[in-house]
């Protein structure tokens, strides 16, 4: 078990900011936390990393208590860039992590090159752009080859090149067996990275493990919609009708089967639309009321 969270509740005075959060991650994967500002993403991460105390619930990470400092030999947390020392250089930060993690100092140089920050590693952090700071934080987070890495909005504010670069690094990490928990508002990047998304709202996880998000959905535009409707019904195939088109998921009706059935009945297909539901669509559905307001 990589992470096990049971009944996590966190209150600030009387306001409950995390409401009975429960989830488990059993195998290495990329998990995205998505939700509007104030939904509790950062608070939850801080609670998991023992940066914030919580009133109820239990958290264990890699089989250890979340309060065990030795956990950080195997776990990394990329936070807000304000945690960096402005007067120190990127190299100073990396060397410090190397010392603390009992890693050879040469590892700092290797990781700086891997992340693509070697050219400015010797400059003071104060002079870094937002992207450079994010890269440094990422370098610090991956130095120890962690089994679990949590990233709090690492893509926000990055230019497209940096965002793509960061995505590749995270996917590379995942490919090597690291579990990545990432919070972000960049739904397009999230879509490209993972199909496991925890949607959070008002301190709750509304949906989790939405692996079907990335399953293709098709819309068929046909010549005789009424007849097609009858054909699908008689074959007990589940589709949704919208006037002259029919929508279905690959999970419930493979596209080949649908085409075959219609072909056998002499139906002409004008157009096939292939699309994913995607994080954005689901987000819009879940947070419709907020979007409208």
């Amino acid at each position: 078990m990589i992470i096990n969270v049971q009944g996590l509740k966190k209150r600030y005075k009387k306001q409950e900011v995390l409401k009975n959060i429960t989830f488990q991650i059993e195998e290495p994967k990329i998990v995205a936390l998505v939700g509007p500002n104030g939904s509790g993403k950062t608070t939850m991460m801080n609670c998991l990393m023992n940066l914030l105390p919580f009133q109820e619930g239990e958290v264990s990470i890699l089989g250890k208590s979340h309060k065990d400092p030795s956990l950080f030999y195997e776990v990394s947390y990329l936070q807000d860039n304000r945690v960096l020392y402005g007067d120190l250089t990127g190299e100073d930060h990396l060397k410090f992590i190397c010392h603390v993690q009992k890693l050879p100092a040469v590892k700092a140089k290797e990781v700086a090159e891997y992340i693509g920050m070697a050219s400015y590693a010797k400059k003071r952090v104060r002079s870094y752009s937002l992207g450079m700071k994010q890269h440094l934080l990422l370098a610090m987070a991956v130095l120890n080859n962690p089994k679990l890495v949590l990233l709090d909005e690492p893509i926000n504010g990055l230019d497209p090149t940096s965002a793509i670069h960061m995505r590749h690094i995270l996917m590379d990490l995942h490919a090597k067996g690291t579990t990545v928990i990432i919070s972000s508002h960049n739904l397009e990047e999230i879509d490209k990275m993972t199909n496991t998304i925890y949607f959070m709202k008002d301190g709750e996880i509304l949906e989790e493990s939405l692996t079907n998000l990335n399953i293709p959905h098709y819309t068929l535009h046909v010549s005789e919609p009424d007849k097609v409707n009858e054909i699908f019904k008689s074959n007990k195939l589940h589709v949704e009708r919208q006037s002259d088109s029919f929508t279905f998921s690959e999970a419930t009706l493979p596209l080949n089967q649908a085409i075959e059935v219609l072909y056998e009945n002499g139906i002409q297909i004008h157009q096939i639309e292939n699309r994913k539901i995607g994080a954005e669509k689901r987000y819009m559905e879940l947070f419709e009321s907020e979007l409208k307001s």
């Binding site: 940066l51 105390p53 945690v83 960096l84 020392y85 993690q101």
Partner: protein, 420 residues
Amino acid sequence: MLHLLRLEFTKMKRSRFTYVLLFVLFVSLCIYFFYIDRKETKLEEAEAYIITNLESHLEWYESAKKELDEKDGKADRILQNNLNASERQYNAFKMMHEGFTNKNWSLYWQGEILNNSFWEETKKKELEFVAKSYTYPTPFTIFSGMDQMRWMEERSIQPIFPTGSLTWLSLYDEEFSEPIAKEIALKYSQKYSTSGIHFIYHLFSYGFGFIGLMFFLFLFSDILTKEGFGRNGPIQMLRTVPIRRSTFWFSKAFTVIGGSFLVICCITIVGVTLGTIFNRFGDWDYPILIYGPDRTYSFLPIAEFLGKSLLLFLLVLAFSFTLLFLFSILTNRAILTIGLTVIAIIIGQTLTDQASLLSWVHWLPFHYIEVYPILSGEYAITTDNPIFTYQQAILSLSLSTLILLLITFSAVKLRKGVMS
């Protein structure tokens, strides 16, 4: 903990403010050395003074002898006394001159003791009539001065000029026959020397006090105020590395106190080196007068005095840094934290001075910020409160620091999520 110490050192190394402060310190140290050098009575001046006196006393002696001879051996008590006194003083300056020329300082002090012995006799008689005199020079001043000379004679310590009875002044010397007498006493009792040991003694008279405290507070304030307690500052990063929280706090404490100690050691080395290059090393066992209760006194070798002062000053620093840390937790703002700490120390000192006679006031740590007067016993004398001792200072500062630490960590606990 070594990792954190290294990090703190790197932070200081990368801070321009550190270099500015250290540069200011070095320049101040050099300027002060120059100042002491200008004030110091040089060996040539001292020698000229001895020779002038030697010649004068020889002249007086010969004149007194001649006068007595002219009386044709008839007994004249006054003339005889004059002759004896002149002879004694002539012999005294002769010994001093010989001692000075041959760098035989024991002999020099024997001469000086002989030269001033009549003061001792006079003051012994005065004590029979007035137990607690305040008229300059008081018996306390003379006796302590004579004993100081005996101490130096025994150990063959090179004098810091000027020497002699008129170069002593104690806290009990309050009444002067003439204003000019006070001026002279004040002028000659301030003994300056650029020899290594004495120079750092002069230097730390300021260093181990409010000025030094401010310097160290500014030098190390970043360590306690720039972690962003209560905000998403670097403290949050340090909390996500495999380090125990207690180690983190110990490293902070060790850095500020250990760092201060190191800086003091460096200042000492620079000061002693400057002194040794331009003058001489100095004497470790030069006597420093320590006031006791009821007009008693003792002496401490200057090295021991400096060592004890350093210990007390480190406690002052520990207390002040704890205060700074508390304000840092409460305010979360670096500038505000330093400002509040300085204000608290100034107000604390002002208030304790006003309330120095209250029965519990010796527990207030602000009394002990100026270290030299505490260790020398001068503070106890000037405040007329014998409880302000060195031991009491150590006790009060240690206890206050512990209490402040308790309050600070309680504040941390109350502000959950800051770093508990």
